[in-house]
Amino acid sequence: MTETQPKVLVVDDAATVRMYHSTLLTEAGFEIHEAANGLEAVEAALGTAFDLFVVDVNMPKMNGYTCVETLRSETVGTPAPVIMISTEDRPGDADRAYAAGANLYLVKPVVPARLVRISRMLTGRGVAA
């Protein structure tokens, strides 16, 4: 494989869910970094240019919405796509995600193949020739 692996930051406070998403994406050829809450995610994004963020909503220290807002703010200023994945599916949740700067809002748990497909698409892998 000559192309560099896209870097993905998986942000979730639940270690099991983190492992689930990380395993799927690692096997799909992504380089995975992990963060256990929004604050860690922001710290990580300050040091590394990620190609994709997979962010949980409900987390301690800094929740997903604030995290994504910060990623998009001048502090971090990342233009990388953000997928938010939440356990909640209440009306308005998706809107909050999009207002914060997410590119796609999905409800947990996500079918593995779908997560991989979308991650590939949003990083330009497996779509563009």
Partner: protein, 786 residues
Amino acid sequence: MNPLLAQFLAEAADLLTQVDEGLLQLERTPGDPELVNEVFRAAHTFKGSSGLFDFPELTKLTHAAEDLLDAVRAGELPLDSGMTDDLLATFDLIRGWLAYVTTEERLPSTAGADAASLIVRLRAPIGGEVVREAPTLSGPQAGDVAPAWLAYFDEEWLAETAAWLRTTSSQMRFIRYAPDSGCFFRAEDPLHLIRQVPALDRLNVIEPVEWPEAADYDEYACLVAFVCATRAGMGEIQYLFRYVVDQFELVDLDGDAIQRYLSGEIEIEVEPESGTAEKQDQKPSSSTDPALLADARAVLAASLKALALNPTNTCHLISLAKAITYAAHAFGDPVEIQEPDVVTLTATVTRLLGDTAEAVEDPVRTVVPLVAADEAPAAERRADDPGGQVGSRILKVDQEKVDHLMELVGELNVAKNGLTFLAGAAEEEFGSRALARRIKDQYSGLHRIAEELQASVMDIRMLPLSVAFSRFPRLVRDLSRRLGKNIELVLEGEDTMADKDVIEALADPLVHLVRNSLDHGIETSDERLASGKPTTARITLTAVADGDAVIVEIADDGRGVDPARVRRKAYEKGLISEEELETLSDVDAVDLVFRPGFSTAEQISDLSGRGVGMDAVRASVEKLGGTVTMRSELGIGTSTRLRLPLSMAVTQVMVVSVAGQRFGIPVDLVVETVRVPVDEMNRVLHQDVVVLRGEVIPVLDLARALDMPWIPDDNRDRAILIANVGGQRVGLLVEQFHREVDVILKPMEGLLAYADEFSGTALLGDGLVLLVLNMKEVLGLAARVG
């Protein structure tokens, strides 16, 4: 166990502890929003992770608890003790389930019934049953069209299953896995995969319609397929089959769907022939893949929404431009976006969505924004520099690994000690003092490293006492309620560290002592009022480090131990003589409670009277090489003090020899060593005794007790080791005393496991194995030999 489940169980244990601790703290500081939030979050995280597995009862129950906590968090209702009870009971039940899951990898069959009443109770304060189900892994929904390959299952079994699924309103997952015929060359192992399917209920192998002729038979081609039925969760199955997504099908059917299939009511899905199943993996630009098209549309629809809701953030706009470009690629309709402004983007998305409107049902309602663009310079992308490490820096290590490391350190010590013998040999056998000195130099360097290594490995094993204390808030709370006593528990010095073996071994004695305090020590509220005490009693658990020991004290402000009553009781039980009844000091009298066969409680209560008394506590503490003492003041309170070694890893033993064999005796037990001229030995009633400073001490012949032939030399003074065993002084006749050594004791194993007279073995520096005596048993043996 699959690693995901193992991870879940480990995480669950932590979360459950957080919930428990939080709930108990909340009782003390009700309404603390920070605490409520913490508990809620732990429950929420737990629910999120549990959703990955097929534990519907678990997810449902956690969901109910989470909803209740959510209402508390939102300030809709205060948390009362009834709710706390229900919540604690919920998480207790869950803890039990998880223990079951750990061994069986599924929930106990009673889970549904056990959870039902709790769910009703949890939901009662927030307006009863709510239909807001936790989302399960999406994909084919229950009641889906039954696939044609259901025919591979036995109809009778299907009918039975359908009936059973209906009564339990649950679902069954059906899998068809048709491995690619060339799977062998892709290192796929279909058989292994199928074997890993959890909770497998039925498995059928589908053979090809016609097997090829022997001459044409290719033994590397996989020609069979599998169908199976399982209760495992969608998430687990998808995870398991993640490498072969294009070779397997999964449907989730409920009883009704199967029934409909059986009665032929529904149309059966027609599918292409299995052998030619198309591969749709990493191939780029598969614009015909309907799933990819649907995802691309979802991204576009989401982009439209995002454009409307957040049209000004430059970074966001760039990211949307990217996403839109990629999605367009997926449609096979590449677009180029020069200026990522909101108007251009909106127009592009609207066009793309319009062009492909017929392709797939729109998953998200589209909103066309009417907001003007706000142009801002594009943010520069951050340079790629090595990212900082993220996540916890704590390493969880298997206990066995640390134990093994400790063993190796022990062996290293032994090997290291071998060098001193080598140095001796160099000088004596080869006459090279220079070589001997060089070996000794090497030795001292090695010695320093080995000591540091040992210290750091022991440090890894150190745990805070809070591990042992953590169960008490709950225990005290529950027991005090049952007893109708008001008790406040105070924990102090929880940060004190001790070896994990000590902490673990401390658990049972501590529980016993605390129970004892609760049950016997603390008076009822009425009694307390009558004696002018505050109605709320107090139990304090304190831990402090004291040199190489840790001291744990359990103190209560209860009624105290009545020495007079203890003396009388001990006399009635025949534990003390009439003379002692008169003369025993109050302090010594209190100590009588540790004697075997003593129990002051008139009635055996179901709390502490479980057949083990304080004697068991003393025995187990002494086994750890510790001591236990009790101080009590009548009417004021009782405190029991346990003194334990910080670490059990290294034992100091005194080496003695008898009949040419060397044995070790734990130094804690050794009082002194004496040499007594033969004619000063006495005999009283068939028992050898020696009189030391006016005290008559029985002397036992170690050689005889161990059945070893040895006759002491009458021309030499007798070597007698005075030991303190179970509070009594005993002399042990040995041949010779040697030095004291630090050893790492290994328990007796295998064929020698029955040899109770030894507490373990240790390797000495010269390679000899030292047997360390278990003095209590040796005394028993000596008494039997006579």
